[in-house]
């Protein structure tokens, strides 16, 4: 791979939270313009990894290079978009006011606001208070604020949890379209049926990266058509390679 072609490179990343190591020397690479799924069960360290990538996580050791810069660099703040798992928007103002605020911060205009609102299916609801929306709708507002300025790298933590299946598929189509236009997307999910939508899959478990591959490679290497079963098979072979169960600490 050509130097600088990777949008994201993580090397030997170790992170401790609350006295417990949650990422155990993780290494991975994400190519520019790709749609990468970060999959794994709840609590496996996906969110911590994403926090490290956007530079808000204190890390113990290792490197995180984003668009050729150390994660958290000042100039990355307008080039990287981040949506947390819990919607981080203001509940006491309207959808439109939230979007206007975040648009002003990233230098986006009215047209971008309408487009982002339409992408998440909230067109026409700009005057509603965010606090009165459902959880899924609030996540969509949060997602819309990250789509305003077309960042080069979008880090989305479980953006489709609890959403209507139709809207979920529309959002994945929107993610695909963003990737086609050159945006790099890293999207976490604990739902395996979304894995098929991705160019590449990063499978995580207990703070370790079990595999990085395309969905087809994963199917091929495990001999399973179903990605859920393929993931299970990867976990099993990782365990048998480790010898006895090392989960208990």
């Amino acid at each position: 791979m050509v130097a600088g072609a990777a949008a994201l490179t993580v090397g030997e990343l170790r992170v401790r939270r609350g006295g417990r190591e949650v990422l155990h020397g993780l290494s991975l690479e994400v190519a520019r313009g790709s749609l990468t799924g970060l999959l794994g069960p709840s609590g496996c360290g996906k969110s911590t990894l994403m926090r490290a990538i956007v530079g808000v996580q204190i890390v113990d050791s290792g490197t995180v290079t984003v668009l050729g810069r150390p994660a958290g660099s000042r100039e990355l703040r307008s080039r990287v978009g981040y949506v947390t798992q819990a919607p981080s928007v203001y509940g006491d103002i309207t959808v439109g006011e939230n979007l206007h605020y975040f648009a002003a911060l990233v230098g986006a205009g009215g047209e971008q606001i309408s487009r982002a609102t339409a992408t998440v299916g909230l067109g026409g609801r700009e005057h509603e208070l965010v606090g009165s929306l459902s959880g899924g709708e609030r996540s969509r507002v949060s997602l819309a604020t990250a789509l305003l300025n077309r960042p080069e790298l979008l880090v989305l933590d479980e953006p489709t949890v609890g959403l209507d299946p139709l809207l979920r598929s529309e959002l994945w189509a929107a993610f695909r379209e963003l990737a086609r236009q050159g945006t790099t997307l890293l999207i976490s999910s604990h739902v395996m049926d979304e894995a098929g939508e991705c160019d590449r899959l990063l499978l995580m478990r207990d703070g370790e990266l079990l595999s990085q591959s395309t969905p087809e490679e994963l199917r091929g290497s495990t001999g399973e058509r179903d990605l859920s079963r393929a993931f299970l098979s990867v976990i099993r072979s990782a365990r048998s390679a480790d010898g006895p169960d090392t989960d208990a600490t």
């Binding site: 401790r16 939270r17 609350g18 956007v54 530079g55 808000v56 996580q57 204190i58 958290g72 703040r77 307008s78 990287v80 981040y82 947390t84 819990a86 919607p87 981080s88 928007v89 203001y90 509940g91 006491d92 103002i93 309207t94 006011e97 605020y101 975040f102 002003a104 911060l105 990233v106 230098g107 208070l129």
Partner: protein
């Protein structure tokens, strides 16, 4: 830091307040209501009402903005919006100044109402002009805001943040000279009072409302208010961490 991000933040904070009309009414009505209450408590003792009521007009915004800011900042921390902001192209100074502008405006409205009622209706005297009390009130509001911002870093929950009011503000009110002249206090209390920001806020207001000419002491008090405000803002900025565990 950018003026665009600063003003956007100020506007967003004002939007938040505007959507909460009950808080707006409480902010604007409660200080005046308390002043009216004092008026009737000290009915027949106009000297006492003047001595306590006149400076109090300029202290209300300090107390109120301390509370409002500590809760508002705590919410930014606990709802994840602060972490989100830290990943965006805006500086810590934009957040602090944005809050300062929004709450400063609110304090100006609050001070105008309470000063108008106090000095024009209830018969309080501001020897050097009610406008000076109003200006000091805005300065004190910013001091309260800065302290509230700093204090919010030490609260995990809103229950804790609310307790900072009796823990950090009541002692200052008791020791600042409003109720008992400081030179009549025990030596150690007097010494402690020198360390408290509200002491300087009160002294400046006492001078502004008393007939004696304003001098270097008042200037020093205003400088002390500004100094405490900047120090608290600086410490507050240190608590806005880009990276957290």
């Amino acid at each position: 830091m950018s003026s665009r991000a600063t003003f956007a933040t100020a506007r967003r904070v004002l939007w938040q307040i505007r959507h909460d009309p009950r808080t707006v009414v409480l902010l604007l009505v409660v200080p005046t209501g308390l002043l009216v209450l004092l008026y009737f408590i000290f009915e027949g003792r106009p000297g006492t009402f003047q001595r306590i009521g006149a400076p109090l007009c300029g202290l209300f915004p300090f107390i109120v903005m301390f509370m409002v800011t500590s809760i508002a900042m705590l919410r930014e921390r606990t709802t994840g919006t602060l972490e989100r902001l830290m990943t965006l192209p805006l500086g810590k100074a934009d957040i602090l100044l944005g809050y300062g502008i929004a709450f400063g405006l609110l304090a100006a409205v609050q001070a105008t109402i309470v000063c108008t009622v106090g000095f024009a209706v209830l018969g309080l005297h501001a020897a050097h002009g009610a406008w000076l009390v109003g200006l000091l009130a805005i300065g004190n509001a910013l001091l309260g805001m800065a302290l509230g911002l700093f204090a919010s870093a030490f609260a995990r929950t809103e229950f804790q943040a609310v307790q900072f009011m009796p823990a950090l503000i009541f002692p200052q009110l008791l020791l600042c000279g409003l109720f008992v002249p400081r030179d009549q206090m025990a030596g150690w209390l007097h010494a402690i009072s020198w360390l408290m920001p509200l002491t300087y806020a009160y002294e400046a207001l006492a001078h502004a409302t008393a007939p004696a000419p304003l001098g270097a002491a008042t200037a020093a008090e205003v400088l002390a208010i500004a100094g405490f405000t900047l120090a608290a803002l600086g410490l507050g900025a240190l608590t806005l961490r880009r990276r957290t565990a």
